[in-house]
């Protein structure tokens, strides 16, 4: 399932991002710490972790 995160582009040094997510069955809010690798913002990993959390939350709804 595709999960889309919508958030403002973070500034250098910013610690968290917050925004909204949407998928085929609904939407909600998220907030997560930004992952840094050697002081470089890693938004790909940040998004992956957040999408994983949302996916696993959705999984629980399908029980």
């Amino acid at each position: 399932m595709d999960i889309t995160l919508t958030y403002d582009t973070p500034s250098d040094g910013q610690l968290r991002i917050s925004g909204t997510y949407s998928h085929d069955f609904g939407s909600g809010d998220f907030s997560c710490p930004i992952i840094y690798n050697e002081h470089v913002m890693d938004l790909h990993t940040t998004e992956s972790r957040t999408k994983l959390t949302i996916q696993e939350s959705l999984d629980s709804d399908s029980q």
Binding site: Y21, G28, F30, P33, E56, Q63
Partner: protein
């Protein structure tokens, strides 16, 4: 429940917040009262320093074990029917409103029937009965019992997700394995093993 943020505050109110009995002997230098605001013995203190102070809340998870899709869960899962494990008390008070505890567990991915070792801690509250959603940072930290101590986790380190709305909506705080120190992670895994009880203290 936290002490008032302004206005009149009495030693009796502070004493009760610290777990004391109303109208019994207390002093602001008592250890439990000082602990509310992190003061050392004998230092200068003012009553307004207790504005908003809280002794926090705690709950005890009687652990169960649940395997679902690609993960195994150790702890409390109200989302399952019947519940996996149990929790006491069953709700927490946030900003004066009661929020049922939905889940508190250690989650580990499983592949081919083998745990992959990536423990995460999830803490999930339902919205209040009027649909009020708890703030992301309504607590300053959470102390999760681990073997030999506690692991302190903060909202700043958590991935936080809301879903749904109304009384059945929920907010989830998730801490990944790298939010634990390596030693704590092993002790977290040994404590949250699906047996016995584990305590969680919410610091406000």
């Amino acid at each position: 429940m936290a002490l008032p943020a302004s206005g009149t505050i009495s030693l009796n109110e502070i004493h009760i917040e610290a777990g004391g009995t109303t109208a019994t002997l207390a002093s602001i230098n008592d250890a439990d009262i000082r602990a509310l605001i992190g003061k050392a013995d004998g230092v200068e203190m003012s009553f307004n320093e207790w504005y908003g102070a809280s002794a926090g809340q705690s709950f005890t998870v009687t652990e169960g074990t649940d395997t679902f899709t690609a993960a195994v869960y150790y702890g409390f899962r109200e989302e399952r029917n019947p519940d996996v494990g149990s929790v006491s008390p069953t709700s927490l008070t946030v900003a004066g409103k009661s929020h049922p505890i939905r889940d508190a567990y250690r989650r580990v991915s499983v592949s081919g029937g083998v745990e992959q070792g990536n423990s995460a801690f999830w803490f999930i509250l339902y919205n209040a009965s009027d649909g009020t959603v708890p703030a992301n940072d309504w607590f300053t930290s959470v102390d999760v019992e681990i073997t030999g101590g506690t692991a302190n986790l903060t909202p700043a380190a958590a991935t936080i997700v809301t879903s749904g709305s109304g009384a059945t909506g929920r907010k989830e705080w998730r801490w990944f394995s790298n939010d634990f120190s390596s030693g704590d992670l092993a002790n977290f895994a040994s404590q949250w093993d699906g047996s016995g009880t584990s305590d969680v203290t919410i610091n406000e």
